[in-house]
Protein backbone atom coordinates (compact mmCIF):
# COMPACT_ATOMS: atom_id res chain seq x y z
CA UNK A 1 0.00 0.00 0.00
CA UNK A 2 3.00 2.34 0.29
CA UNK A 3 2.58 3.66 -3.27
CA UNK A 4 -1.05 4.50 -2.64
CA UNK A 5 -0.29 6.35 0.58
CA UNK A 6 2.39 8.18 -1.35
CA UNK A 7 -0.23 9.26 -3.89
CA UNK A 8 -2.95 10.22 -1.45
CA UNK A 9 -0.88 12.10 1.13
CA UNK A 10 -2.68 13.92 3.89
CA UNK A 11 -1.94 17.34 2.34
CA UNK A 12 -3.57 16.20 -0.90
CA UNK A 13 -6.66 14.83 0.81
CA UNK A 14 -6.86 18.03 2.88
CA UNK A 15 -6.81 20.25 -0.23
CA UNK A 16 -9.35 17.95 -1.90
CA UNK A 17 -11.75 18.17 1.05
CA UNK A 18 -11.15 21.89 1.71
CA UNK A 19 -10.02 23.50 -1.52
CA UNK A 20 -8.32 26.90 -1.20
CA UNK A 21 -9.19 30.00 -3.25
CA UNK A 22 -12.44 28.44 -4.39
CA UNK A 23 -14.76 30.84 -6.21
CA UNK A 24 -14.88 33.34 -9.04
CA UNK A 25 -13.56 36.84 -9.76
CA UNK A 26 -15.48 39.32 -11.90
CA UNK A 27 -14.29 38.81 -15.46
CA UNK A 28 -13.32 41.26 -16.82
CA UNK A 29 -11.19 42.65 -15.27
CA UNK A 30 -9.99 39.19 -14.20
CA UNK A 31 -8.82 36.86 -16.94
CA UNK A 32 -10.80 33.63 -17.17
CA UNK A 33 -9.28 30.44 -18.54
CA UNK A 34 -10.59 26.86 -18.62
CA UNK A 35 -8.80 23.55 -18.50
CA UNK A 36 -10.58 20.40 -19.57
CA UNK A 37 -9.66 16.76 -19.69
CA UNK A 38 -12.06 15.15 -22.17
CA UNK A 39 -11.00 11.62 -21.26
CA UNK A 40 -12.05 11.75 -17.62
CA UNK A 41 -14.25 14.85 -17.64
CA UNK A 42 -12.16 16.78 -15.13
CA UNK A 43 -12.63 20.53 -15.36
CA UNK A 44 -10.99 23.57 -13.84
CA UNK A 45 -11.72 27.26 -14.44
CA UNK A 46 -9.19 29.85 -13.28
CA UNK A 47 -9.77 33.57 -12.68
CA UNK A 48 -6.50 35.50 -12.78
CA UNK A 49 -5.86 39.09 -11.65
CA UNK A 50 -2.49 40.41 -12.79
CA UNK A 51 -1.33 43.89 -11.74
CA UNK A 52 2.12 45.40 -12.19
CA UNK A 53 3.79 42.09 -12.89
CA UNK A 54 2.20 40.38 -9.91
CA UNK A 55 -0.47 37.65 -9.86
CA UNK A 56 -2.40 39.60 -7.27
CA UNK A 57 -5.37 37.24 -7.03
CA UNK A 58 -6.48 33.82 -8.23
CA UNK A 59 -9.77 31.97 -7.79
CA UNK A 60 -10.88 28.70 -9.24
CA UNK A 61 -13.86 26.45 -9.76
CA UNK A 62 -14.10 22.97 -11.19
CA UNK A 63 -14.74 19.34 -10.48
CA UNK A 64 -12.82 16.14 -10.84
CA UNK A 65 -10.71 13.62 -9.01
CA UNK A 66 -8.76 14.30 -5.83
CA UNK A 67 -5.52 14.71 -7.74
CA UNK A 68 -6.77 17.30 -10.23
CA UNK A 69 -8.69 19.26 -7.60
CA UNK A 70 -6.01 19.19 -4.90
CA UNK A 71 -3.33 20.10 -7.44
CA UNK A 72 -5.32 23.15 -8.52
CA UNK A 73 -5.88 24.15 -4.89
CA UNK A 74 -2.20 23.68 -4.00
CA UNK A 75 -1.23 25.63 -7.09
CA UNK A 76 -3.46 28.57 -6.22
CA UNK A 77 -1.98 28.74 -2.72
CA UNK A 78 1.56 28.61 -4.11
CA UNK A 79 1.22 31.33 -6.75
CA UNK A 80 -1.25 33.79 -5.25
CA UNK A 81 0.32 37.21 -4.67
CA UNK A 82 3.62 36.22 -6.30
CA UNK A 83 5.54 38.17 -8.95
CA UNK A 84 5.04 36.64 -12.41
CA UNK A 85 8.72 35.68 -12.60
CA UNK A 86 8.29 33.53 -9.50
CA UNK A 87 5.01 32.11 -10.82
CA UNK A 88 6.67 31.15 -14.10
CA UNK A 89 9.54 29.52 -12.23
CA UNK A 90 7.10 27.54 -10.04
CA UNK A 91 5.20 26.33 -13.10
CA UNK A 92 8.44 25.17 -14.69
CA UNK A 93 9.63 23.44 -11.52
CA UNK A 94 6.29 21.71 -11.08
CA UNK A 95 6.18 20.50 -14.67
CA UNK A 96 9.72 19.22 -14.25
CA UNK A 97 8.59 17.30 -11.17
CA UNK A 98 5.79 15.70 -13.18
CA UNK A 99 7.96 14.80 -16.18
CA UNK A 100 10.99 13.69 -14.17
CA UNK A 101 9.74 10.14 -14.19
CA UNK A 102 9.41 9.99 -17.96
CA UNK A 103 12.76 11.65 -18.67
CA UNK A 104 14.46 9.18 -16.35
CA UNK A 105 13.30 6.52 -18.77
CA UNK A 106 14.55 8.38 -21.81
CA UNK A 107 17.89 10.06 -21.16
CA UNK A 108 20.26 9.85 -18.25
CA UNK A 109 21.24 13.45 -18.79
CA UNK A 110 17.76 14.76 -18.07
CA UNK A 111 17.32 12.40 -15.16
CA UNK A 112 20.30 14.08 -13.52
CA UNK A 113 18.44 17.36 -13.40
CA UNK A 114 16.76 16.65 -10.13
CA UNK A 115 14.04 18.95 -8.94
CA UNK A 116 14.89 20.73 -5.72
CA UNK A 117 11.82 19.78 -3.71
CA UNK A 118 12.55 22.41 -1.08
CA UNK A 119 11.58 25.16 -3.55
CA UNK A 120 8.15 23.57 -3.98
CA UNK A 121 6.94 23.59 -0.40
CA UNK A 122 3.57 21.84 -0.06
CA UNK A 123 3.52 21.14 -3.80
CA UNK A 124 6.14 18.46 -3.22
CA UNK A 125 3.30 16.34 -1.82
CA UNK A 126 2.25 15.73 -5.42
CA UNK A 127 5.48 13.96 -6.33
CA UNK A 128 3.85 10.58 -5.58
CA UNK A 129 1.74 11.12 -8.70
CA UNK A 130 4.66 10.36 -11.05
CA UNK A 131 4.51 6.71 -9.98
CA UNK A 132 1.01 6.60 -11.51
CA UNK A 133 1.60 7.76 -15.10
CA UNK A 134 -2.10 7.90 -16.05
CA UNK A 135 -2.73 10.35 -13.19
CA UNK A 136 -0.05 12.89 -14.25
CA UNK A 137 -2.54 14.56 -16.58
CA UNK A 138 -4.84 15.04 -13.58
CA UNK A 139 -2.11 16.81 -11.63
CA UNK A 140 -1.04 19.05 -14.53
CA UNK A 141 -4.55 20.11 -15.63
CA UNK A 142 -4.70 23.35 -13.61
CA UNK A 143 -1.06 24.14 -14.29
CA UNK A 144 -1.53 23.95 -18.04
CA UNK A 145 -4.55 26.22 -17.70
CA UNK A 146 -2.49 28.69 -15.63
CA UNK A 147 0.31 28.67 -18.23
CA UNK A 148 -2.24 29.27 -20.98
CA UNK A 149 -3.96 32.06 -19.03
CA UNK A 150 -0.71 33.89 -18.28
CA UNK A 151 0.35 33.60 -21.93
CA UNK A 152 -2.99 35.02 -23.04
CA UNK A 153 -2.61 37.94 -20.62
CA UNK A 154 0.95 38.59 -21.90
CA UNK A 155 -0.30 38.56 -25.50
CA UNK A 156 -3.06 41.05 -24.70
CA UNK A 157 -0.55 43.62 -23.44
Amino acid sequence: MSNLEDLYREIILDHYRSPRNRGELPSPPAHKVEGFNPLCGDEVTLYLDVHDGVLSDIKLTGHGCSISQSSSSLMSAAVKGKPLNDVNATIETFKQLMTGHESALTTEEEADEEVDLRTLGELAALQGVVKFPVRIKCATLAWNALRQGLDEIANQN
Binding site: L4, C40, G41, H63, G64, C65, S66, R135, C138
Partner: protein, 411 residues
Amino acid sequence: MSSFNVRRIRADIPLLQREINGRKITYLDSGASSLQPHAVIDAMSRYYELRHANVHRGVYQTANEATEAYEGSRAAVALFLNAPGGADEVVFTKNTTESLNLIAKTWGADHLAQGDVVLVSEMEHHANIVPWFQLREATGVEVRFIPVGDDYRLDLTKLDELLDGVKLLSVTAMSNVLGTKNPIAELAEAAHRVGALIAVDGAQSIVHGVTDVQELDIDFLAFSGHKMLGPTGIGVLWTRESVLDTMGPFMGGGGMIADVRVDGFTPAKGVARFEAGTPPIAESVGLRAAVRYLTGLGMENVADHDHELTVDALTRLESSFDGRVRVIGPSDTKDRGGVISLDVEGVHPHDVAQVLDQFGVCVRPGHHCAKPLMKRFGLAATARASFGPYSTTRDTDVLLEALTSAVSMFG
Protein backbone atom coordinates in the same frame (compact mmCIF):
# COMPACT_ATOMS: atom_id res chain seq x y z
CA MET B 1 -26.05 -26.61 -14.80
CA SER B 2 -24.06 -29.70 -15.67
CA SER B 3 -21.84 -28.08 -18.30
CA PHE B 4 -21.26 -24.89 -16.37
CA ASN B 5 -18.49 -25.09 -13.80
CA VAL B 6 -17.02 -21.70 -12.97
CA ARG B 7 -13.91 -23.18 -11.37
CA ARG B 8 -13.14 -25.02 -14.57
CA ILE B 9 -13.74 -21.88 -16.61
CA ARG B 10 -11.35 -19.93 -14.38
CA ALA B 11 -8.70 -22.60 -14.81
CA ASP B 12 -9.06 -22.16 -18.60
CA ILE B 13 -8.15 -18.48 -18.48
CA PRO B 14 -4.44 -17.75 -18.11
CA LEU B 15 -4.85 -14.08 -17.24
CA LEU B 16 -6.87 -14.96 -14.13
CA GLN B 17 -3.73 -16.56 -12.69
CA ARG B 18 -1.93 -13.19 -12.63
CA GLU B 19 -1.10 -11.27 -9.50
CA ILE B 20 -1.46 -7.49 -9.27
CA ASN B 21 0.13 -5.64 -6.36
CA GLY B 22 0.67 -8.92 -4.56
CA ARG B 23 -2.95 -10.09 -4.91
CA LYS B 24 -4.61 -12.44 -7.34
CA ILE B 25 -6.24 -10.36 -10.05
CA THR B 26 -9.94 -9.57 -9.55
CA TYR B 27 -11.07 -8.83 -13.06
CA LEU B 28 -14.29 -6.81 -13.09
CA ASP B 29 -13.94 -5.01 -16.41
CA SER B 30 -15.48 -7.55 -18.77
CA GLY B 31 -17.86 -4.85 -20.00
CA ALA B 32 -14.83 -3.18 -21.56
CA SER B 33 -13.18 -6.38 -22.71
CA SER B 34 -13.47 -10.00 -21.66
CA LEU B 35 -10.62 -12.38 -20.94
CA GLN B 36 -9.71 -15.24 -23.26
CA PRO B 37 -9.60 -18.96 -22.50
CA HIS B 38 -6.72 -21.15 -23.71
CA ALA B 39 -9.06 -22.55 -26.37
CA VAL B 40 -9.18 -19.17 -28.11
CA ILE B 41 -5.50 -18.30 -27.70
CA ASP B 42 -4.40 -21.78 -28.81
CA ALA B 43 -6.71 -21.83 -31.84
CA MET B 44 -5.15 -18.60 -33.06
CA SER B 45 -1.61 -19.87 -32.41
CA ARG B 46 -2.29 -23.13 -34.22
CA TYR B 47 -3.73 -21.23 -37.15
CA TYR B 48 -0.58 -19.10 -37.47
CA GLU B 49 1.70 -22.10 -36.93
CA LEU B 50 0.07 -24.41 -39.46
CA ARG B 51 -2.39 -22.82 -41.84
CA HIS B 52 -1.83 -19.11 -42.32
CA ALA B 53 -2.12 -17.64 -45.81
CA ASN B 54 -4.23 -14.89 -47.33
CA VAL B 55 -7.83 -15.84 -48.03
CA HIS B 56 -9.85 -15.99 -51.26
CA ARG B 57 -6.68 -15.90 -53.40
CA GLY B 58 -4.18 -18.70 -53.66
CA VAL B 59 -4.80 -22.19 -55.00
CA TYR B 60 -2.22 -23.83 -52.78
CA GLN B 61 -3.11 -26.01 -49.81
CA THR B 62 -2.66 -23.55 -46.93
CA ALA B 63 -4.49 -20.79 -48.82
CA ASN B 64 -7.44 -23.14 -49.19
CA GLU B 65 -7.23 -24.04 -45.52
CA ALA B 66 -7.10 -20.38 -44.46
CA THR B 67 -10.14 -19.61 -46.62
CA GLU B 68 -12.01 -22.59 -45.19
CA ALA B 69 -11.11 -21.47 -41.67
CA TYR B 70 -12.31 -17.91 -42.30
CA GLU B 71 -15.54 -18.94 -44.00
CA GLY B 72 -16.06 -21.65 -41.39
CA SER B 73 -15.97 -18.96 -38.71
CA ARG B 74 -18.67 -17.06 -40.54
CA ALA B 75 -20.86 -20.17 -40.55
CA ALA B 76 -20.19 -20.77 -36.83
CA VAL B 77 -21.26 -17.20 -35.99
CA ALA B 78 -24.41 -17.59 -38.12
CA LEU B 79 -25.32 -20.74 -36.20
CA PHE B 80 -24.65 -19.02 -32.85
CA LEU B 81 -27.12 -16.26 -33.80
CA ASN B 82 -29.60 -18.63 -35.48
CA ALA B 83 -29.30 -16.49 -38.62
CA PRO B 84 -32.06 -17.49 -41.05
CA GLY B 85 -29.87 -17.00 -44.12
CA GLY B 86 -26.78 -18.61 -42.59
CA ALA B 87 -23.23 -17.46 -43.27
CA ASP B 88 -24.33 -15.18 -46.15
CA GLU B 89 -25.72 -12.77 -43.55
CA VAL B 90 -22.57 -12.43 -41.44
CA VAL B 91 -20.18 -9.56 -42.23
CA PHE B 92 -16.88 -9.46 -40.37
CA THR B 93 -15.79 -6.00 -39.24
CA LYS B 94 -13.25 -4.63 -36.81
CA ASN B 95 -15.64 -4.23 -33.84
CA THR B 96 -19.14 -3.13 -32.83
CA THR B 97 -18.29 0.49 -33.63
CA GLU B 98 -17.37 -0.37 -37.21
CA SER B 99 -20.48 -2.52 -37.58
CA LEU B 100 -22.75 0.36 -36.50
CA ASN B 101 -20.87 2.79 -38.75
CA LEU B 102 -21.30 0.34 -41.60
CA ILE B 103 -25.08 0.45 -41.16
CA ALA B 104 -25.11 4.26 -41.09
CA LYS B 105 -22.69 4.76 -43.97
CA THR B 106 -24.16 2.15 -46.34
CA TRP B 107 -27.79 1.36 -45.52
CA GLY B 108 -28.35 4.78 -43.93
CA ALA B 109 -26.80 6.74 -46.76
CA ASP B 110 -28.71 4.69 -49.36
CA HIS B 111 -32.14 4.64 -47.73
CA LEU B 112 -32.50 7.75 -45.59
CA ALA B 113 -33.04 11.37 -46.58
CA GLN B 114 -34.12 14.66 -45.03
CA GLY B 115 -37.37 14.20 -43.16
CA ASP B 116 -36.59 10.62 -42.15
CA VAL B 117 -35.97 9.85 -38.51
CA VAL B 118 -33.41 7.62 -36.82
CA LEU B 119 -34.60 6.77 -33.31
CA VAL B 120 -31.95 5.90 -30.74
CA SER B 121 -32.05 6.02 -26.95
CA GLU B 122 -30.54 8.13 -24.23
CA MET B 123 -28.63 5.11 -22.91
CA GLU B 124 -26.65 4.46 -26.09
CA HIS B 125 -22.90 4.17 -26.32
CA HIS B 126 -21.36 6.97 -28.43
CA ALA B 127 -20.87 4.33 -31.16
CA ASN B 128 -24.64 4.24 -31.61
CA ILE B 129 -25.04 8.04 -31.52
CA VAL B 130 -22.17 9.68 -33.38
CA PRO B 131 -22.56 7.73 -36.68
CA TRP B 132 -26.18 8.92 -36.81
CA PHE B 133 -25.12 12.52 -36.11
CA GLN B 134 -22.63 12.14 -38.95
CA LEU B 135 -25.42 10.84 -41.18
CA ARG B 136 -27.51 13.83 -40.10
CA GLU B 137 -24.74 16.16 -41.26
CA ALA B 138 -24.55 14.34 -44.60
CA THR B 139 -28.26 13.86 -45.33
CA GLY B 140 -30.33 15.97 -42.95
CA VAL B 141 -32.04 13.03 -41.21
CA GLU B 142 -33.45 13.69 -37.77
CA VAL B 143 -31.91 11.86 -34.79
CA ARG B 144 -34.41 11.37 -32.00
CA PHE B 145 -33.90 9.94 -28.53
CA ILE B 146 -36.03 7.59 -26.43
CA PRO B 147 -35.72 8.99 -22.90
CA VAL B 148 -34.49 6.96 -19.93
CA GLY B 149 -36.73 6.98 -16.84
CA ASP B 150 -35.74 7.41 -13.20
CA ASP B 151 -35.89 3.60 -12.93
CA TYR B 152 -32.91 3.48 -15.34
CA ARG B 153 -35.04 1.86 -18.03
CA LEU B 154 -36.27 3.12 -21.40
CA ASP B 155 -39.36 5.25 -20.97
CA LEU B 156 -41.59 3.76 -23.64
CA THR B 157 -44.83 5.49 -22.60
CA LYS B 158 -44.69 7.74 -25.66
CA LEU B 159 -43.18 5.20 -28.03
CA ASP B 160 -45.91 5.58 -30.63
CA GLU B 161 -45.29 9.33 -30.87
CA LEU B 162 -41.54 8.81 -30.93
CA LEU B 163 -41.88 6.34 -33.80
CA ASP B 164 -43.60 8.88 -36.05
CA GLY B 165 -41.52 9.20 -39.23
CA VAL B 166 -38.93 6.69 -38.03
CA LYS B 167 -37.15 4.60 -40.65
CA LEU B 168 -34.62 3.02 -38.33
CA LEU B 169 -34.71 2.27 -34.62
CA SER B 170 -31.15 1.68 -33.39
CA VAL B 171 -30.91 0.65 -29.77
CA THR B 172 -28.71 -1.27 -27.37
CA ALA B 173 -29.87 -4.64 -26.06
CA MET B 174 -28.02 -4.02 -22.80
CA SER B 175 -26.63 -0.77 -21.43
CA ASN B 176 -22.87 -0.74 -20.88
CA VAL B 177 -23.40 1.66 -17.96
CA LEU B 178 -26.66 0.64 -16.28
CA GLY B 179 -26.82 -3.07 -17.00
CA THR B 180 -30.42 -2.53 -18.19
CA LYS B 181 -31.59 -5.11 -20.71
CA ASN B 182 -34.03 -3.59 -23.17
CA PRO B 183 -37.17 -5.33 -24.51
CA ILE B 184 -35.76 -5.89 -27.99
CA ALA B 185 -38.50 -8.19 -29.31
CA GLU B 186 -41.17 -5.68 -28.24
CA LEU B 187 -39.22 -2.79 -29.82
CA ALA B 188 -38.74 -4.78 -33.03
CA GLU B 189 -42.47 -5.36 -33.28
CA ALA B 190 -43.17 -1.66 -32.71
CA ALA B 191 -40.59 -0.60 -35.31
CA HIS B 192 -41.92 -3.02 -37.90
CA ARG B 193 -45.46 -1.83 -37.24
CA VAL B 194 -44.49 1.60 -38.64
CA GLY B 195 -42.42 0.10 -41.45
CA ALA B 196 -39.07 0.86 -39.82
CA LEU B 197 -36.11 -1.48 -39.43
CA ILE B 198 -34.42 -2.16 -36.11
CA ALA B 199 -30.68 -2.31 -35.49
CA VAL B 200 -29.40 -3.71 -32.21
CA ASP B 201 -26.13 -2.91 -30.45
CA GLY B 202 -25.31 -6.30 -28.96
CA ALA B 203 -21.85 -5.44 -27.65
CA GLN B 204 -22.82 -6.20 -24.02
CA SER B 205 -25.79 -8.53 -24.48
CA ILE B 206 -23.95 -11.02 -26.68
CA VAL B 207 -22.11 -12.52 -23.70
CA HIS B 208 -24.87 -12.07 -21.13
CA GLY B 209 -27.51 -14.32 -22.64
CA VAL B 210 -28.95 -16.06 -25.69
CA THR B 211 -29.13 -14.01 -28.88
CA ASP B 212 -31.53 -15.47 -31.44
CA VAL B 213 -32.06 -12.99 -34.26
CA GLN B 214 -35.14 -14.85 -35.51
CA GLU B 215 -36.82 -14.95 -32.14
CA LEU B 216 -36.08 -11.26 -31.61
CA ASP B 217 -37.16 -10.55 -35.20
CA ILE B 218 -34.52 -7.82 -35.66
CA ASP B 219 -32.88 -6.55 -38.84
CA PHE B 220 -29.31 -5.70 -37.82
CA LEU B 221 -27.11 -6.91 -34.98
CA ALA B 222 -23.67 -5.48 -34.16
CA PHE B 223 -21.16 -6.94 -31.68
CA SER B 224 -17.45 -7.44 -30.99
CA GLY B 225 -15.38 -10.59 -30.60
CA HIS B 226 -13.33 -9.38 -27.65
CA LYS B 227 -16.33 -8.90 -25.36
CA MET B 228 -17.36 -12.56 -25.80
CA LEU B 229 -14.06 -14.26 -24.87
CA GLY B 230 -12.71 -13.83 -28.40
CA PRO B 231 -9.85 -11.69 -29.69
CA THR B 232 -9.74 -7.96 -30.41
CA GLY B 233 -9.76 -6.81 -34.03
CA ILE B 234 -12.90 -8.64 -35.14
CA GLY B 235 -16.54 -7.65 -34.93
CA VAL B 236 -19.73 -8.82 -36.57
CA LEU B 237 -22.55 -7.16 -38.42
CA TRP B 238 -25.41 -9.54 -38.95
CA THR B 239 -28.24 -8.43 -41.19
CA ARG B 240 -30.98 -10.34 -43.00
CA GLU B 241 -30.11 -11.22 -46.56
CA SER B 242 -33.06 -9.24 -47.94
CA VAL B 243 -31.69 -6.09 -46.26
CA LEU B 244 -28.04 -6.83 -47.04
CA ASP B 245 -28.87 -7.04 -50.74
CA THR B 246 -30.08 -3.43 -50.68
CA MET B 247 -26.87 -2.04 -49.18
CA GLY B 248 -24.07 -0.48 -51.21
CA PRO B 249 -20.42 -1.30 -50.55
CA PHE B 250 -18.54 0.10 -47.54
CA MET B 251 -14.81 0.73 -47.96
CA GLY B 252 -13.23 0.38 -51.39
CA GLY B 253 -10.34 -1.92 -52.18
CA GLY B 254 -9.41 -5.49 -52.96
CA GLY B 255 -11.87 -8.26 -52.27
CA MET B 256 -14.99 -6.08 -52.40
CA ILE B 257 -15.25 -5.86 -56.20
CA ALA B 258 -16.65 -7.95 -59.00
CA ASP B 259 -14.80 -5.89 -61.60
CA VAL B 260 -12.55 -2.83 -61.85
CA ARG B 261 -12.00 -0.97 -65.09
CA VAL B 262 -10.37 2.38 -65.94
CA ASP B 263 -13.84 3.92 -66.00
CA GLY B 264 -15.12 2.50 -62.72
CA PHE B 265 -15.89 -0.61 -60.68
CA THR B 266 -18.66 -3.08 -59.97
CA PRO B 267 -19.00 -4.18 -56.34
CA ALA B 268 -19.01 -7.84 -55.41
CA LYS B 269 -22.24 -9.52 -54.39
CA GLY B 270 -22.92 -10.75 -50.88
CA VAL B 271 -20.92 -10.07 -47.74
CA ALA B 272 -17.68 -9.69 -49.70
CA ARG B 273 -18.56 -6.16 -50.74
CA PHE B 274 -18.31 -5.01 -47.12
CA GLU B 275 -14.94 -6.64 -46.50
CA ALA B 276 -12.30 -4.71 -48.45
CA GLY B 277 -8.69 -5.72 -47.90
CA THR B 278 -7.23 -8.67 -46.01
CA PRO B 279 -9.74 -9.51 -43.31
CA PRO B 280 -9.07 -10.54 -39.68
CA ILE B 281 -8.43 -14.20 -40.49
CA ALA B 282 -6.69 -15.38 -37.31
CA GLU B 283 -9.17 -13.33 -35.29
CA SER B 284 -12.04 -15.12 -37.00
CA VAL B 285 -10.48 -18.42 -35.95
CA GLY B 286 -10.28 -17.09 -32.38
CA LEU B 287 -13.88 -15.90 -32.55
CA ARG B 288 -15.02 -19.31 -33.75
CA ALA B 289 -13.21 -20.91 -30.80
CA ALA B 290 -14.93 -18.44 -28.46
CA VAL B 291 -18.32 -19.28 -29.96
CA ARG B 292 -17.60 -22.98 -29.51
CA TYR B 293 -16.49 -22.37 -25.91
CA LEU B 294 -19.59 -20.34 -25.04
CA THR B 295 -21.86 -22.84 -26.77
CA GLY B 296 -20.23 -25.56 -24.68
CA LEU B 297 -21.04 -23.61 -21.52
CA GLY B 298 -24.57 -22.95 -22.76
CA MET B 299 -25.65 -19.33 -23.06
CA GLU B 300 -28.67 -20.01 -20.80
CA ASN B 301 -26.24 -21.14 -18.11
CA VAL B 302 -24.03 -18.11 -18.70
CA ALA B 303 -27.10 -15.88 -18.31
CA ASP B 304 -28.20 -17.66 -15.11
CA HIS B 305 -24.72 -17.34 -13.62
CA ASP B 306 -24.60 -13.64 -14.52
CA HIS B 307 -28.00 -13.14 -12.90
CA GLU B 308 -26.97 -14.87 -9.66
CA LEU B 309 -23.80 -12.76 -9.44
CA THR B 310 -25.77 -9.58 -10.09
CA VAL B 311 -28.43 -10.30 -7.48
CA ASP B 312 -25.73 -11.16 -4.91
CA ALA B 313 -23.63 -8.06 -5.68
CA LEU B 314 -26.58 -5.64 -5.65
CA THR B 315 -27.87 -7.08 -2.37
CA ARG B 316 -24.51 -6.77 -0.67
CA LEU B 317 -23.71 -3.31 -2.08
CA GLU B 318 -27.08 -2.12 -0.86
CA SER B 319 -26.49 -3.31 2.71
CA SER B 320 -22.79 -2.56 3.14
CA PHE B 321 -22.06 1.16 3.00
CA ASP B 322 -24.84 3.05 4.81
CA GLY B 323 -25.95 4.59 1.54
CA ARG B 324 -22.50 5.94 0.71
CA VAL B 325 -22.25 3.68 -2.34
CA ARG B 326 -25.07 4.19 -4.81
CA VAL B 327 -25.74 1.84 -7.73
CA ILE B 328 -26.51 3.70 -10.95
CA GLY B 329 -28.80 1.16 -12.59
CA PRO B 330 -32.01 -0.79 -11.97
CA SER B 331 -32.40 -2.28 -8.49
CA ASP B 332 -34.99 -4.66 -9.95
CA THR B 333 -32.87 -7.57 -11.21
CA LYS B 334 -35.34 -8.76 -13.83
CA ASP B 335 -33.98 -7.88 -17.29
CA ARG B 336 -30.77 -6.62 -15.79
CA GLY B 337 -27.26 -7.87 -16.49
CA GLY B 338 -24.00 -7.88 -14.59
CA VAL B 339 -22.79 -4.37 -15.31
CA ILE B 340 -22.79 -2.38 -12.09
CA SER B 341 -22.01 1.33 -12.10
CA LEU B 342 -21.15 2.86 -8.74
CA ASP B 343 -21.27 6.39 -7.40
CA VAL B 344 -19.30 6.60 -4.17
CA GLU B 345 -20.18 9.63 -2.07
CA GLY B 346 -17.23 11.99 -1.75
CA VAL B 347 -14.87 9.84 -3.79
CA HIS B 348 -14.28 10.52 -7.46
CA PRO B 349 -14.52 7.39 -9.67
CA HIS B 350 -10.88 7.76 -10.71
CA ASP B 351 -9.84 7.69 -7.08
CA VAL B 352 -12.13 4.71 -6.44
CA ALA B 353 -10.51 2.82 -9.31
CA GLN B 354 -7.04 3.81 -8.13
CA VAL B 355 -7.63 2.45 -4.63
CA LEU B 356 -9.23 -0.71 -6.05
CA ASP B 357 -6.16 -1.29 -8.21
CA GLN B 358 -4.11 -1.67 -5.04
CA PHE B 359 -6.28 -4.69 -4.26
CA GLY B 360 -5.80 -6.10 -7.75
CA VAL B 361 -9.38 -5.13 -8.59
CA CYS B 362 -9.89 -4.01 -12.20
CA VAL B 363 -12.86 -1.68 -12.71
CA ARG B 364 -13.48 1.07 -15.20
CA PRO B 365 -13.84 4.72 -14.14
CA GLY B 366 -15.22 7.32 -16.53
CA HIS B 367 -18.22 8.23 -18.65
CA HIS B 368 -18.12 4.86 -20.48
CA CYS B 369 -18.64 6.58 -23.86
CA ALA B 370 -22.22 7.40 -22.83
CA LYS B 371 -22.10 11.12 -22.08
CA PRO B 372 -25.79 11.83 -22.83
CA LEU B 373 -26.73 9.16 -20.27
CA MET B 374 -24.27 10.57 -17.71
CA LYS B 375 -25.77 14.00 -18.21
CA ARG B 376 -29.28 12.57 -17.79
CA PHE B 377 -28.34 11.48 -14.27
CA GLY B 378 -26.17 14.51 -13.46
CA LEU B 379 -22.95 12.52 -13.28
CA ALA B 380 -19.54 13.17 -14.80
CA ALA B 381 -18.40 9.59 -14.32
CA THR B 382 -18.99 6.33 -12.47
CA ALA B 383 -16.79 3.44 -11.38
CA ARG B 384 -18.10 0.39 -13.19
CA ALA B 385 -17.70 -3.25 -12.23
CA SER B 386 -18.80 -5.79 -14.82
CA PHE B 387 -18.97 -9.57 -14.75
CA GLY B 388 -17.95 -12.22 -17.25
CA PRO B 389 -18.77 -15.95 -17.38
CA TYR B 390 -15.66 -16.58 -15.24
CA SER B 391 -16.64 -14.14 -12.45
CA THR B 392 -17.54 -15.40 -8.97
CA THR B 393 -19.00 -14.05 -5.73
CA ARG B 394 -15.38 -14.11 -4.49
CA ASP B 395 -14.72 -11.26 -6.96
CA THR B 396 -17.52 -9.34 -5.27
CA ASP B 397 -15.96 -10.09 -1.85
CA VAL B 398 -12.73 -8.41 -2.92
CA LEU B 399 -14.62 -5.55 -4.56
CA LEU B 400 -16.44 -4.84 -1.29
CA GLU B 401 -13.22 -5.08 0.73
CA ALA B 402 -11.50 -2.61 -1.62
CA LEU B 403 -14.51 -0.26 -1.66
CA THR B 404 -14.48 -0.22 2.13
CA SER B 405 -10.87 0.92 1.99
CA ALA B 406 -11.67 3.64 -0.58
CA VAL B 407 -14.56 4.94 1.50
CA SER B 408 -12.49 5.09 4.69
CA MET B 409 -9.47 6.66 2.99
CA PHE B 410 -11.50 9.60 1.72
CA GLY B 411 -13.92 9.48 4.67
